[in-house]
């Protein structure tokens, strides 16, 4: 098994590369990508929802020019949906079609034993790769030029599935009983696992991964992200908006706004041709950043003071 030549010479190059693809990140994130490529290790990305965990995988795939293969996890996900399945219908169809050929193949064979031997000469035609339906995990191994595999929200999958992943993640191979062990054809895929921490991922899995925690960004980084994603936004509004969101994250809310909400809000305000934050505007668009009515109700009386602090720190 060969390893891909590493397209980046340093962490800074990775960071610059991600930046050119409009993904603004801290050096910690860039280091993770660089190290994952260097050490051939999967990255387990944790952090609150909406900080760009999935986006990181997408951007990295685009940057490496590899296909992104995505597996969304959910309760009850099993091998047949994640790894491979036999194409039963196709097998049956072929058997029907080939039934007539059987006579020709067996012509001249006398007795059961001889017929069986004749059949054996043809091998396991129906259990070959032609009849194998690769699912995301197997597909990632079969990519000859390398791939980026995104296993999204691993915490939603069952414990059994996690255990199944162990073989794949440490050796980049899977075992199919009928075919034997299948190894990665090309260079090892770069694997991202994401988790929202609805449950603890097992230690065994964590041990095999680099562990990256993406927190909410600091104000300057968040401004850079908004600027990259919504470049048309007026600078004054951008500063106020980020300061407001940062102040909001300090509050005791059911769900604090993440980066994705910041970006959505920036787009919304841009559409409304806002030049500055004002009380009415914030009140009207609060549902873009807060997703619970309780939060909106709790925050409404505090809005003026929040706005004032945001203006001050902007």
């Amino acid at each position: 098994m060969s390893t891909a030549p590493i397209p980046f010479g340093s962490v800074a190059e990775v960071q610059a590369g991600l930046e050119s693809a409009n993904y603004i990140c801290s050096t910690q994130i860039a280091t993770a990508v660089y190290l994952a490529l260097e050490l051939d290790k999967p990255i387990l990305v944790e952090g609150p929802p909406g900080v760009g965990k999935t986006e990181l995988a997408k951007t990295t795939a685009a940057l490496l020019n590899h296909p992104l293969i995505r597996l969304q996890c959910y309760e009850g996900l099993d091998e047949a949906k994640a790894l491979y399945e036999w194409k039963y219908a196709k097998q049956l169809l072929y058997i029907q079609v080939l039934k007539e050929q059987l006579g020709d193949v067996l012509a001249g064979a006398k007795g059961l034993q001889a017929s069986l031997e004749r059949l054996h000469e043809f091998g396991d035609v129906f259990f070959s790769e032609d009849f194998l339906e690769p699912r995301p995990l197997l597909k990632a191994l079969q990519e000859e030029a390398g791939a980026v595999l995104l296993i999204d929200e691993i915490d939603k999958a069952d414990q059994e599935f996690e255990s199944m992943l162990l073989e794949l993640l440490s050796d980049f191979q899977v075992s199919i009983p009928e075919l034997g062990t299948i190894r990665a054809k090309g260079p090892r895929p770069l694997v991202f696992l994401t988790s929202n921490n609805t449950r603890e991922v097992s230690d065994a899995l964590k041990r095999r991964c680099l562990h990256l925690y993406i927190p909410f960004p600091e104000a300057p980084l968040e401004r850079a992200i908004v600027h990259a994603r919504v470049p048309e936004i007026p600078p004054a509004l951008e500063r106020e908006l980020v300061a407001f969101i940062q102040a909001l994250r300090e509050k005791d809310l059911k769900k604090v706004p993440a980066i994705s909400e910041t970006i959505d809000w920036a787009r919304t305000l841009l559409l409304l041709n806002a030049e500055q934050l004002d009380g009415q505007l914030v009140q009207d668009t609060l549902n873009v950043i807060l997703k619970f009515q309780d939060d909106i109700d709790a925050l409404t009386p505090e809005l003026p003071s929040l706005l004032a602090t945001a203006r001050k720190s902007a």
Binding site: T27, Q28, T31, Y88, R199, R207, Y213
Partner: protein, 503 residues
């Protein structure tokens, strides 16, 4: 560096970051790839490999900052050039090149001391300082000029100024004198001297003495330089020992305290130790969560699942051989915690509630009730507030009044009686001292009949059950399980059993 990294990892383990041997190997590979020139980069890389939870990351940050303060890596560009010249120096042509610039001579050695020891007597022969600097020497050194190579091993090492190598030497010496065995702070001076000796201080001392008395200005210059470097080194060794003390001895004290707190009677714990207890409860809860979080699917077989059966049997040419069934999930059992929060038992109630609500991940449906005379549900407090606030509110609301168990059971049946069924566990925490009131065993019996399990936790030792106004013997008949419970390890055991039974 290998030894340093190894020791760093053991310090991390002390700080309760779990690191497996496989991860240790990863750390070595990481350091191998990333190099050690850039401290920030090294920290960020190791942060990916070693700590694997958010809490561990915090511990890692603190540990890294404490540990690698000594091995200050040259991340400034100025420092990088320093390293290069430091490497060039021992090859022999160093002296020739040094002669060119007035201040150039001090560069490889000087930078090592400059950053941390500005008041060292050596007069800071830094490369960027004015050439006259060396004149400020106590030895009355005659101006700038070449220095000769030191003879002693330590002197040579100091002159080369390779900080990584020096750091390694210091940590090796530390290992040789077993500095990790440091227990009390008075040992710091002792260990500092031992490490200096192990590094070869004796030979260096003699050499300095010999050089300083010579007439040759080069020799005297060398003596001055070496003694400055030595002072600087001693300072660093002292820092090193100090850090070792914090890393090793402190953790031991911490462990001792934890072991003590686990067994001590909760009502005897002083208030200032509550924060430690809280951390301990969180830790115990975490362990229990880890042990019990593997979700066992309890299903009851239901009707035939037609579509799945058809799909499953495609492989058998559509013959229905392998049947699939719809499954009905069995509800997890509910836990009702009834806590006596009157003065005598309040502390125990505090920690049991803390424990139960720390287990939310594995024990999602806990309803809590508090009483001293009247009983009320406090579940909502715990859902809305942080644990500390919730407990404080609960105690404030209910702890007044004299204990009346009979009234409390009646209230419980009224408030939650209809919710108690054959899948419920009821935990009662209290000393069963009813002030000679009506024990109302009938009400408890009714709870007993309805619930799957009634567990009574009594903080008093068993021999005092039944003495005075204690109604324990009577209540005991209507409980499935009765335990003495007055220390954290009791609580842990009871709750661990509970988790096994409940799930």
């Amino acid at each position: 560096m290998d030894a340093s990294l190894q020791r760093f990892i053991s310090a991390l383990r002390m700080a309760e970051v779990r690191i497996s041997p496989a991860e240790t190997l990863d750390a070595f590979r990481t350091v191998d790839r990333m190099g050690m020139e850039n401290r920030q980069q090294l920290k960020e890389s190791l942060a990916l490999v070693l700590p694997k939870t958010a809490e561990e990351k915090l511990a890692f940050d603190a540990c890294f900052d404490a540990f690698f303060r000594f091995e200050e890596f040259s991340d400034a560009p100025q420092g990088a050039s320093d390293d290069e010249s430091g490497e060039g120096d021992p090859s022999g042509d160093g002296e020739g090149s040094e002669g060119q610039g007035g201040g150039g001579d001090g560069q490889p050695q000087g930078q090592g001391s400059e950053s941390r020891n500005s008041d060292a007597s050596s007069g800071d022969p830094a490369g960027d300082g004015p050439p006259g600097d060396d004149g400020a020497d106590p030895f009355g050194d005659p101006g700038p000029g070449p220095v000769q190579d030191a003879q002693s091993a330590l002197g040579q090492q100091l002159q080369q100024g390779d900080r990584a190598a020096l750091a390694l030497a210091v940590s090796q010496a530390g290992e040789a004198v077993n500095v990790a065995g440091i227990k009390v702070f008075t040992q710091k001076g002792l260990y500092t001297r031992r490490i200096m000796d192990a590094l070869g201080q004796g030979a260096l001392q003699e050499e300095i003495g010999a050089l300083a008395t010579q007439a040759d200005p080069t020799a005297r210059r060398t003596a001055a330089q070496l003694s400055g470097l030595r002072d600087d080194l001693r300072e660093r060794v002292r820092d090193f020992v100090e850090r070792q003390f914090l890393l090793h001895a402190d953790a031991d004290g911490h462990r001792l305290r934890e072991a003590m707190l686990r067994h001590v009677k909760l009502s005897n714990v002083e208030h200032r130790n509550f924060s430690h207890l809280k951390r301990l409860v969180e830790k115990m809860a975490k362990r229990l969560i880890a042990a019990h979080s593997r979700r066992r699917k309890k299903m009851r077989r239901g009707q035939l699942h037609v579509s799945r059966t058809l799909r499953k049997n495609l492989r058998y040419d559509g013959e229905l051989i392998d049947l699939a069934w719809k499954a009905r999930k069995i509800d997890r059992s509910k836990v009702f915690a009834i806590c006596d929060v009157s003065g005598s038992v309040a502390t125990y109630a505090r920690f049991m509630l803390m424990f139960l609500y720390s287990l939310e991940a594995v024990l999602p449906r806990v309803r809590a009730f508090a009483f001293s005379s009247d009983l009320g549900e406090v579940t909502e407090n715990f859902q809305r507030m942080a644990i500390d606030d919730a407990i404080a509110t609960t105690l404030a609301d209910f702890s007044g009044g004299s204990t009346d168990y009979g009234q409390a059971f009646d209230d419980f049946l009224r408030v939650a009686g209809s919710a108690v069924n054959s899948q419920s566990t009821v935990i009662i925490l209290g000393d069963a001292r009813n002030n000679y009131g009506n024990p109302n065993t009938k009400a408890l019996r009714e709870i007993y009949d309805k619930a799957q399990r009634v567990i009574w936790l009594n903080p008093e030792p068993e021999r005092s059950w039944g003495s005075g106004d204690s109604e324990m013997p009577r209540y005991r008949a209507s409980c499935h399980q009765v335990n003495v419970c007055n220390a954290l390890n009791h609580l842990e055991r009871v709750i661990s059993d509970l988790l096994v039974a409940v799930r």
